[in-house]
């Protein structure tokens, strides 16, 4: 059995979390609150570290341009005042517009033209046929411009089936994720903590 206090804390919290499977209890709630609290504390500490390294230290070294982002950040806190909250709209507008501009720059190529190109495949293999058929019929399913004729109705039904298969695959993936987490926790409790698994 481990003598590391960190392993003991993590192990006990793991058991407290899984105790929810039996029924809701105070140990589970403690673990839940700790996750939220520790996560928030960690992010706060890291945020402060960042402000120090990327704004305060450069200002101390005479790079006064760093005052600008610092000031915009401080202005966000005016949201806390009902009277002055309008001021926060300026840094917010700058953040949103910058974010959108940066995303859009690559989005057209990365998410649109390259993806359209990737579905223009020669119908020479089963995979390619399924890819083209699936893309076309799923797009048909979401085609609402005019009332569906017979071809579009049948096409969208096929598209619906492709969607169901895709959703099934996604749910299957989530099951895989949950089992992987369970394996990791069992390995930790029985291996790293209790030393039963080698």
């Amino acid at each position: 059995m481990s003598t590391d206090i960190g392993v003991w804390v993590a192990g006990l919290l793991t058991l407290a979390t899984y105790s929810y499977l039996y029924k809701e209890n105070p140990a589970y709630r403690l673990a839940e609150y700790l996750v939220v609290g520790v996560g928030a504390g960690y992010t706060l500490a890291l945020g402060w570290q960042n402000i120090t390294a990327k704004a305060i230290q450069p200002i101390q070294q005479g790079r006064y341009l760093s005052l600008l982002p610092l000031l915009l950040g401080v202005l966000l806190f005016t949201k806390l005042s009902q009277k002055q909250s309008w001021i926060a709209r300026y840094p917010m507008a700058i953040m949103v517009s910058l974010g959108v501009a940066v995303s859009v720059r690559g989005a057209v190529s990365a998410n649109l033209t390259r993806q359209i190109g990737a579905t223009m495949l020669p119908l020479t293999s089963t995979n390619n046929i399924l890819m083209v058929l699936g893309t076309a019929t799923v797009l048909g399913y979401f085609f609402f411009t005019f009332p569906a004729n017979k071809a579009l109705t049948y096409g969208s039904r096929v598209g619906q089936m492709f969607l169901m298969v895709a959703f099934g695959a996604m749910i299957g993936s989530v099951v895989m994720l949950r089992i992987a987490i369970l394996i990791s926790r069992i390995t930790f409790v029985f291996g790293d903590w209790w030393g039963i698994l080698k």
Partner: protein
């Protein structure tokens, strides 16, 4: 309708996962194309090349991609590749530390063979800034050493100096943001991802925007097999397979009981005459 307390299902699932850990079944691990492609991309790099490991994942994804992180780090070390570590999510810094620990355990030196640049805030904007100017975005490493004094970063100004990016995607920002921001640079990208989000990034491989994907624990086991560094993922494969078996059995049995119950109900309804 048969009603079963779901806690029995939890118990069966626990046993299905736990027993193979005590008595391994030795089920085979087949290597998929995408894992093989990532492996080949790493193998193709000449020793001394710089790989960017972007550990953008939180501890909640440790069970799925933690093993991949370890085996990739061991592979990079064994190939003599240098690593720049960075994270665009706050909790990812700790994951980068774990990669650094593997480098250090192999006798590699911080600043020469690897460097941990820590957390870069700003999401996608932060990624764009990092790609355009690495040193300006990260003035120092996690030990506080200014980037000007880090030998590994000399001559490495933009992302174009990186030979391969391995991005761990489990949250935002992740692979989608990387793919968008890599458009002007064209640096090869490999994605490590939890299986839950895998369906959202497979399109990037088909479109040639990523060299391959390592999805979940299964891919970690495949990578361990390819590299020969057998570890936690390989050990977990039997448990994973048995866990799936429980789920599949539960789905099949649930449907059998559901339709049997429905049939019995309709029969008893017919026997009892017409219902109003």
């Amino acid at each position: 309708m048969v009603e079963i307390d779901k806690r029995w299902l939890y118990l069966v699932l626990f046993l299905a996962v736990f027993v193979p850990m005590l008595r391994p079944l030795g089920l085979p691990v087949d290597v998929g194309k995408w894992s093989s492609d990532v492996f080949k991309a790493v193998e193709a790099l000449p020793p001394g090349s710089v790989v960017l490991l972007s550990t953008d994942f939180t501890p909640s994804a440790e069970g799925e991609v933690g093993a991949t992180r370890d085996v990739i780090a061991k592979h990079l070390v064994s190939r003599g590749l240098k690593a720049v570590l960075v994270s665009f999510v706050p909790q990812g810094v700790r994951q980068a530390d774990m990669v650094a620990a593997i480098y250090e355990a192999a006798g590699k030196r911080s600043g020469v063979d690897f460097v941990n640049l820590g957390y870069v805030p700003g999401g996608e904007t932060g990624i764009a800034a990092f790609f355009a100017d690495i040193k300006k975005t990260c003035p120092s490493d996690t030990k506080g050493v200014p980037v000007e004094q880090i030998p590994l970063l000399q001559g490495l100004d933009t992302i174009e100096g990186i030979s391969l990016i391995i991005q761990f995607h489990t949250t935002v920002p992740g692979a989608h943001e990387y793919v968008r921001q890599l458009v002007p640079y064209g640096v090869p990208l490999a994605i490590v991802i939890s299986t839950g989000a895998m369906a959202t990034v497979t399109v990037y491989v088909q479109a040639g925007q990523a060299v391959g994907i390592l999805g979940g624990l299964q891919a970690a086991a495949e990578y361990e097999k390819l590299t020969g560094f057998l570890g936690a993922a390989t050990k977990a494969m039997d448990s994973q397979s048995m866990g799936y078996l429980v789920f599949i059995s539960a789905i099949v049995l649930g449907n059998v009981f559901y339709f049997a119950g429905k049939r019995a109900a309709s029969r008893s309804g017919a026997a009892g005459g017409k219902r109003i």
